[in-house]
């Protein structure tokens, strides 16, 4: 059993877990996110968009890895756009990059514990929190295997474990379902719903069916701008019988994308 601190039960003093206004972020010299407005609260948010739409750059900016080139970005009520102190916001963040590196000789448990330590968790809670995170992603039997011996799907799950180890209030997962088999994807959707009860989860993906099945809110970006935000049914409603795609959601996706490319904003 875990003792709940006063800080955990205190009411939030901010309206949105993630709030971006006219956000601009550069990837190298290219302005990959260009004037994006975004507001997110607790729940699972699916981030859709074609390759090169600025999904990964947006994720990196939200994870406080990249400094925004312009606009305003507030995470958990803390301004993280400028040179302010990022520590408070980072303590409430969990982040799984698209391609994450690791130290190959660490075991899964060592890796998750090391990340928990970097996230400045109280020392005595680290072993328990690491074990819990590893159990939640279903890696218990491989907890003491070295990272270099894991398969692609297992690595992905180890990455998810390090992201959720600190019970983050904002969880950013960039392409978390790559390499997971169909059964694991179902388990992962279950985990997402579970996590979203008390945190804001943003999942970037190419798989429209993942978004429809697991997300309460769908975001679509194109060329660095938000072109759609709404629930899955609204996304489906946008699709007509003549749009490309094999499912209603895919037809909605391609209809929105076509409209965005033609200059209109949904």
């Amino acid at each position: 059993m875990r003792t709940i601190s006063a800080a955990e039960t205190a009411p939030a003093t901010y309206a949105w877990s993630v709030h971006a206004e006219q956000l601009k972020v550069k990837a190298g010299r290219h302005l990959a996110v260009d004037g994006l407005d975004l507001r997110m609260q607790n729940g699972v948010h699916g981030l859709l968009g074609p390759n090169g739409a600025g999904k990964t750059t947006l994720m990196r900016a939200l994870a406080t890895v990249l400094r925004p080139a312009g606009g305003k970005l507030t995470i958990l009520g803390q301004d993280v756009g400028g040179r302010g102190n990022l520590r408070q916001a980072r303590r409430g963040l969990g982040y799984l990059p698209q391609e994450f590196g690791f130290y190959p000789r660490f075991t899964v448990r060592e890796f998750v514990e090391y990340m928990a330590w970097l996230k400045e968790m109280p020392k005595h809670t680290i072993p328990g929190a690491a074990q819990r995170a590893i159990e939640r992603v279903g890696l218990t039997t491989r907890a003491d295997a070295r990272m270099k011996t894991l398969s692609g799907g297992m690595l992905r799950r180890a990455g998810i474990a390090q992201a959720i180890v600190n019970n983050p209030l904002v969880l950013l997962l960039d392409e978390p379902t790559v390499g997971l088999d169909p059964e694991q994807r179902l388990d992962f959707r279950e985990l997402l719903r579970d996590l979203a009860v008390d945190s804001c989860v943003l999942v970037s993906t190419h798989l429209v069916e993942d978004v429809v099945a697991a997300c309460t809110d769908v975001l679509m970006v194109n060329e660095g701008r938000l072109v759609f935000q709404g629930d899955a049914n609204t996304l489906i409603d946008h699709g007509g019988p003549n749009d490309a795609g094999d499912s209603p959601a895919e037809r909605g996706y391609s209809a929105l994308l076509r409209r965005a490319r033609n200059g209109g904003v949904a």
Binding site: T64, V65, N85, L86, L93, Y95, G101, F102, E110, L118
Partner: protein, 268 residues
């Protein structure tokens, strides 16, 4: 904490009085778990049977401890500290630097009339390690680490401390072996390390270390090798004090502008 039970209740609990109902027993037990004073008071009420039972158990445990295997020392604590302080990516660079210091000592011994190579090498010896201490090119987990609250100047300084903890004893050994002034070896070494971190706040530590090493090679090492005369910055006298001052000023700058290190990836 709950209120302390009455002494009479405690005495009836110790005797196993069947008149005490379940709810009262639970209350006493849950209180005893958290209150050492009441546990001490409880021992005063113990009956002869309970004492005999406790003594049998204690004797059994003692026998088990004597007969059983000795406790195994847990090596985990050490390895956890090691993993947190020492980054594996540093190892090859530190080995290379150690080899270069070794070569310089060898040259010194073989060609004693030449200006001391150990002296010329000492300032830039820690720079390869400092350059890779926190850089997105060399740290595979940079993106994960850059998003954590621990990322920042403190982490850079911790990794730099590991580099210095390896390089400085090697320099002291090299200095003692070749008869070079230890102060003239260590003060420039510290000054260059601190300067590359301070300059790194502006252009990235990786780049800063490279720039400073190139400057040192062009401005001091090459002329010295050509003229075979030690420059004034490496002669004993005021030089060590000057280097120490540089180290102090640049460290002060880095600490004062710690906010510049919060996003180490930009420029690294």
């Amino acid at each position: 904490m709950s209120t302390h039970p009455e002494p009479t209740v405690l005495a009836r609990y110790a005797e196993g009085d069947p008149g005490l109902d379940d709810a009262a027993v639970w209350t006493v037990e849950s209180h005893l778990e958290t209150c050492p004073d009441c546990r001490a008071r409880l021992t005063g009420h113990l009956t002869g049977d309970t004492r005999a039972l406790l003594e049998t158990v204690a004797a059994g445990i003692d026998r088990g401890i004597v007969a059983g295997p000795a406790p195994v020392r847990n090596p985990r604590a050490w390895s956890v500290t090691g993993r947190r302080w020492f980054t594996v990516t540093l190892a090859p660079w530190l080995i290379m630097t150690a080899a270069m210091i070794g070569c310089a000592v060898l040259m010194n011994v073989l060609e004693p009339q030449m200006p001391s190579l150990v002296l010329l090498l000492a300032p830039v010896a820690p720079l390869p390690g400092v350059a890779v201490a926190w850089s997105r090119r060399t740290d595979p987990a940079w993106e994960l680490i850059a998003a954590t609250p621990a990322a920042g100047l403190a982490m850079l300084l911790r990794r730099t401390a590991v580099v210095l903890a390896v390089i400085m004893p090697l320099l002291v050994l090299a200095g003692a072996y070749t008869g070079t002034s230890i102060a003239l070896l260590l003060a420039p070494c510290l000054a260059f390390t601190a300067s590359s971190i301070a300059l790194g706040a502006l252009i990235g530590v990786h780049r800063a270390a490279f720039v400073l090493a190139a400057l040192w090679a062009a401005a001091i090492v090459l002329p010295t090798l050509v003229t075979a005369e030690l420059p004034v910055v490496l002669q004993s006298g005021a030089a060590p004090a000057g280097w120490t001052l540089v180290a102090a000023v640049t460290t002060g700058f880095a600490v004062a502008r710690a906010d510049l290190f919060r996003r180490l990836t930009s420029g690294n």
